[in-house]
Amino acid sequence: MTCNEAAGMIDPYIDGELDAADATHVAAHLETCAACRRRLDEREGLRQLLRGLPHYDAPPRVRVAVGDVATSIYVRRRVQTWMAAAATVVLVAGSALGVRLRQTANATSTIAEAVVARHVEALAGPQLIDVPSSDQHTVKPWFQGRVDFSPPVPDLAAHGFTLVGGRVDHIAGQPVSALVYKRRLHVIHVFVWPASNGARETDERTVRGFHEQHWTTRDLSVWAVSDVNEDDMKMFANVFASGS
């Protein structure tokens, strides 16, 4: 191996990037060549010095910022996915209500989607109701001991909404009371659970053709969902809220 050849291999040699044969040749050359040996020594000396260079670690605020960035994109993307899956998502716009909705839009979208999903699944499932009764005084006490709150169960027969019964269900991992009403052949689900930390929200939207009405009564969160027309849905929400 000539000096020129060896000189060109000094860097990969000290970086451990040569294959065994070349490394052996360079090592043998270094034994006999003072000039190349000096070249190697210089570089190893330099490497020693470079070990003292600062390694700039990410400051905590950068870690936090990166986490926030990723989270916000993640949440936004998830919402976009829901919106693509849904035929329509109607947010009530304008007014103070619209502003409040936007603030909680992410969380509310999740629930609105979950409510529709449970509505559809329950209709397709084997057991729509566990307590079949049109008597509010049978259905309401049935929930005692099954959930740790007492859902409103108004009698709305006079308005054309017949109570069919109820069951305990789960939405977003928490137990909820599910009430089933009927308007002609249409099933209306009412899901009730304790509202989180005093939230007082109102919402109405259409998800995959199902109309949803959401409100908070006292400290309970109420979601009504059905395939009845929008006017009937609004009427149902009104008479239910005023009757409970």
Partner: protein
């Protein structure tokens, strides 16, 4: 922002943390050496994180660090171009400032009493393309292959840039006292 839900298992969000988190220091270090100041480095890493999350699907799982650093490099380069302060390219440096650049800046270097400061300053004075191969090799311990991936250059170019970068550093720092200090 700041108090959104953080899912940890099986979700893209959690996977992103698990994959990127361990290499955030390397990403910041690389950005810091490229930009040579904290504020720009923070911006670059933050922008890079956005890109990384968007293109998470393009991650070849065998080397997330090289993948992330590649994104940091692209982000830095795009920003530098945008701000009209184009990265200093080796070719430009060598065609026009070869002689001037090979001499240490006497004022800048003479003021640096501490060896560590002198070395840091010398590395900062390197053209961008030389500086990055030194940082990736000596501080991140990357292989030629990894450096080639991050910098988007052939392995042979990695080797020659490293060699020339070291020659420049030796010229700037002066070989004789260094060898004495290091041994």
């Amino acid at each position: 922002m700041g108090s959104h839900d953080r899912e940890t298992d099986g979700t893209p969000r959690g996977t992103f943390d698990a994959v990127v988190g361990p290499h955030l220091n390397a990403a910041f270090n690389y950005a810091r050496w490229l930009t040579r100041n904290d504020a720009d480095a923070e911006d670059v890493v933050q922008d890079a994180a956005i890109r990384a999350f968007r293109y998470f699907g393009s991650l070849r799982s065998d080397n997330p660090r090289a993948w992330l650093l590649t994104i940091v490099r692209h982000t830095w380069y795009a920003r530098a171009s945008q701000h009209a302060a184009r990265p200093r390219l080796v070719e430009y440096e060598e065609m026009t400032h070869e002689q001037a650049d090979d001499r240490p800046d006497p004022e800048a270097l003479a003021l640096q009493r501490q060896t560590a400061d002198r070395v840091r300053k010398a590395v900062e004075l390197l053209p961008d393309d030389f500086r990055e191969v030194i940082v990736l090799r000596e501080l991140e311990g990357m292989s030629y292959k990894e450096i080639a991936d991050v910098a988007g250059i052939p392995m042979g170019t990695v080797m020659s840039r490293l060699s020339r970068a070291r020659e420049r550093l030796l010229a700037m720092l002066g070989p004789t006292p260094l060898a004495g200090e290091a041994r």
